[in-house]
Amino acid sequence: MKIFLIILTFLFAFILQTTSISFLSFLDVSPNLILIFIFFLVIFKDFKKIWWIIILIGFFMDLFSGLPFGTINLSLILSAYLIDWFNKTIFAATKFWMIISLISVGVFIYNLILILMISFYSKEFYDGLILKIIIEVIYNSFFAILIFYAIKKIFHQKTNT
């Protein structure tokens, strides 16, 4: 049941990502809801238990992207694995700022891997990319804070009732 809910949440986030999220773009960068959800899941669960969900979501993201098939999925799985490793070794305590920092690092790693993979087939890709990644990290971290508080509020209310 829990897994079913997680998959349903991801599918809903995926539909939002490909439709309305792009309208929230700031300086040509829009928040990546799926990436934020995946990192939250990796931090609170274990990579070993959820790797197949990441592949499933990455598969759909690849289908809806114009980038070469597999690049998003590979970037997602590698960045999620690294975040899991950081979470277990460096950022051991699950405090608010630790979680947000982990997500920021995750967004940075994800974009870096994605760019490296895209650079194999396109040389036209490096104009203004560093600035784009910086904005991407800041904007997604901001959304991660919002989502974190939203989740906290929902679960807090649930436990109260």
Binding site: T18, S22, S122, L131
Partner: protein, 264 residues
């Protein structure tokens, strides 16, 4: 060996590489069609609602300038009406002259109106998904425009009832273009953000700001005369081999909801 293969990361990578292989064989197309068919209605509805909300917010934000904008547009409209009458006369004359020297009349192209149902899932690519595909005679490399002969992009992947279009603002998009009323030609590439880069323009030629950039038709892929944008500024220095110019696209890609695909 078995232990290594059981490691979740290794297992994940193996699955992803298998998926890449399966996709290259085209075996994933049925999955894609099924998913798109079942989700297209929700996607289309959410996309259209989001677009309307976005337009409404924009409208509220610009309500102060509405009167001035209306006056400017009325003036522009009158000028354009004059231009249309002049062009109609030229067209008539052109047809008559073609008839006299025995040249066939230019074929008018067939257009299909399509709805945009979703955008790219990554922020690096600039792609749209439209609700028409192979069944509607759309082919790969078909050109996508909006009314007024404004170039939007081209079809890069076609499925049964859907197609993926690459916008001209995508970093890997290349379009042969020229500056209107001049013989200066170059290559339009997607730049950072929503702007375009006009590259490979010959050095020493005078490039006027606000000149219109249109497709040159040189590669044979894009028909000539499609409007791309307006020259904003020259960004290269004199020491460079060619001139590079920033171009502002005429199309507002953020507000598109319907596009035409040229099928003939």
């Amino acid at each position: 060996m078995k232990r290594i293969l059981k490691h979740p990361l290794i297992l994940s990578l193996l699955i992803i590489f298998s998926l890449i292989f399966i996709n290259q064989q085209g075996w994933l197309n049925p999955v894609y069609n099924i998913f798109l068919k079942s989700s297209s209605f929700i996607q289309k509805s959410i996309f259209q609602t989001s677009l309307k909300t976005n337009n409404f917010i924009d409208f509220i934000a610009t309500i102060r300038n509405l009167k001035q904008e209306n006056n400017d547009l009325k003036e522009k409209n009158l000028n354009l009406l004059g231009e249309i009458i002049k062009l109609k006369e030229i067209k008539k004359e052109n047809e008559m002259l073609r008839g006299q020297i025995g040249l066939p009349l230019q074929e008018s192209s067939e257009l299909i109106l399509t709805n945009i149902i979703s955008k790219d899932s990554s922020s690096f690519g600039k792609y749209f998904l439209i609700d028409k595909g192979k069944k509607d005679k759309i082919k790969e490399k078909s050109i996508v425009i909006i009314s007024g002969n404004l170039l939007v992009g081209q079809v890069i992947e076609v499925f049964d009832s859907f197609s993926k279009i690459q916008l001209i603002i995508d970093p890997s998009s290349l379009v042969n273009a020229c500056i209107q009323d001049s013989e200066i030609t170059g290559l339009i590439k997607g730049g950072y953000g929503l702007d375009l880069i006009f590259d490979l323009l010959p050095q020493g030629k005078n490039i006027e700001i606000d000149s219109m950039v249109i497709t040159s038709g040189l590669s044979g892929l894009f028909p000539s005369g499609l409007l791309i944008g307006k020259i904003e500024k020259v960004i290269s220095s004199e020491s460079q081999i060619s001139q590079i110019v920033k171009v502002k696209p005429i199309v507002d890609f953020e507000k598109l909801d319907k596009v035409f695909v040229i099928i003939k």
